[in-house]
Amino acid sequence: MGIFIDAFRDGLAMLVSGATDVWTIILVSVQVSGVAVLLALVLGIPAGFVLGSKRFIGRRMMLVIANTGMGLPPVVVGLVVAMLLSRRGPFGNLELLYSQPAMVIAQLVIALPVVAAVSAAAVSAVPRELRLQARSLGASRFQEAFMTLKEARMGLIAAVAAGFGSIISEVGAVTMVGGNLAGKTRVMTTAIVQYTRMGDYGPALALAAVLMGMVLVVNILLTSVQSSAERYER
């Protein structure tokens, strides 16, 4: 088990000493996924509210799209975004391929259906009768919507957490559209893959520990929300 002890010691030293390349990688990861999840939130929560609370033509179709989008393999998203941004592609003149904005786009496409679908589930878990109850006490449509979002708040936090979790661990799409350029588009997952393939386990383990820490926070959020959702079961 010497290999683990050595790598662990190396990795810890790097994190503590503030070795610039490791911390740069973490910063890029958080920056790219943070912007992507923020955009997913702005677009996904309103979409989720509409999907979860209204009945309209095309709603079923949109739910199918959101659910399919959640199951979409990230490498497929990466492929399509790469083709769109490639020199010969329709947006080639923007010269975005192998840049952080390209990664944000790919991650947004991956996170958006997750945020929308989980928000929709959270909103539709607010009983229809609770909304009717608000109406019957005099709430306007707007006040009713506000009450619904307030009741679903834990679920909306879960939606954002799930969206973040889906992109921070992802490796295929970011490689394809980001290119894994050191200091520019290299993120935690792509770096872990690269360090591992080079046999450089120290920095790989250090980054893995940081990544797992982030994922753990997300999971704790999701679990606490699940148990509070059961409250409506009564």
Binding site: L130, S136, L137, G138, A139, E151
Partner: protein, 361 residues
């Protein structure tokens, strides 16, 4: 009499081609409680939604104090409040819940606290303001839901099966409390229920619904005293009305010939009139057929034959017949044994003239 608080006129509502509500006319009289009674699926809740301006009818209109109102009339909507079968409470404290409608009405915060605590006291939960709304028992939660509605002092209060989810003990305690709260506040109330005992406990008036239509309505005693048709009778657990013709009227007591049996009733009818009449099973006493009936205030007594005996809770329901006259009597276990009642046994029935309900036909 005062004009109606709510009038429903020619209201029709259907879902997927099936008629859910088809009500020609229904009135809620101010300050009184109207029970909307019917089996599940009879359109009670849909009618409540329409009256409460939560849903629009396909055709027809709802009048509040004589003026036509729709779900778009914010002022009209703000003059109503509802509580449902399950006490859907919002996350937060009990005070947050009770204050919800007040906040929507922009009542100053300084008054909100006083109104909330007064209203909680009225429903029997004084000082419960700061408890969480999600940790209450069913009965407590339903009290909070009622407080949340009555704190608004609505012109019309809508209650949709508010006791149906509670266990029987809690149900009866709460039914009585609701009754006294509604009576004190004299709020006009629409009370939807499928349970006739509940309706009898809380209501002044009753309307019976069947397949979207109101088949009978009026003061509780009238509607329960004389079911208008076989279906209503069956639903109320009674025998359908007996048909007869008035042959004499003396001192306000009418003598009515029912297929050869003379029945006496206190009623404003004229000789020659065709009438329907009914007696509640609780008011009918049975004796052995050969017993000499002593002098009593009961004007009606005749011999008949037992045709049906059914256990019904703590008592028995005994149906007796003579010709086309068919009457049910509610009898205790002890009496059933003492009288040795069985199908085919002759008995003597006794009931007062005041116990007979009469309607012209």
């Amino acid at each position: 009499m005062n004009p109606a608080a709510i009038t429903v006129e020619g209201v029709l509502r259907s879902f997927r081609g099936k008629t859910a509500v088809d009500v020609e006319r229904l009135e809620l009289r101010p300050g009184r409680t109207l029970a909307l009674l019917g089996p599940s699926g009879s359109g009670k809740s849909t009618l409540l939604s329409i009256i409460g301006l939560l849903e629009r009818p396909d055709t027809g209109r709802v009048l509040l104090d004589g003026a036509v109102v729709t779900p778009r009339d914010t002022a009209a909507r703000l003059s109503m409040a509802a509580a449902f079968q399950r006490p859907y409470l919002f996350k937060g404290t009990i005070a947050d819940n009770v204050a919800y409608g007040l906040r929507l009405r922009r009542v100053p915060a300084s008054r909100v606290a006083a109104l909330v605590s007064e209203s909680l006291a009225r429903v029997g939960l004084p000082g419960w303001e700061s408890r969480s709304a999600l940790t209450l028992s069913g009965g407590e939660a339903q009290r909070v839901a009622l407080a949340r509605a009555i704190v608004l002092e609505p012109r019309v209060l809508l209650l949709d099966e508010p006791l149906a989810s509670l266990d029987p003990l809690m149900k009866w305690r709460l039914a009585r409390d609701f009754d006294s709260i509604l009576r004190q506040s004299s709020i006009t109330t629409l009370y939807v229920t499928h349970d006739q005992d509940e309706a009898l406990t809380v209501a002044d008036d009753v309307a019976i619904m069947r397949e979207g239509r109101v088949v009978a309505s009026g003061p509780v005693d009238e509607v329960f005293g004389l079911p208008v048709d076989e279906w209503t009778a069956g639903f109320l657990g009674m025998e359908p009305a007996i048909r007869g013709r008035v042959v004499e009227v003396a001192d306000g007591v009418a003598g009515i010939d029912c297929d050869g049996v003379m029945l006496y009733a206190v009623a404003a009818v004229k000789p020659g009139e065709a009438v329907a009449l009914g007696v509640r099973p609780e008011d009918v006493l049975l004796f052995e057929a050969d017993v000499e009936i002593p002098i009593s205030s009961a004007r009606n007594h005749f011999e008949a034959t037992v045709t049906e005996i059914v256990a019904s809770g703590a008592t028995f329901r005994v149906v007796i017949e003579r010709g086309s006259v068919r009457i049910a009597a509610r009898i205790s276990r002890a009496s059933l044994a003492d009288l040795k009642l069985a199908v085919g046994v002759p008995v003597r029935a006794l009931f007062k003239a005041t116990a007979v309900r009469v309607a012209s036909t």
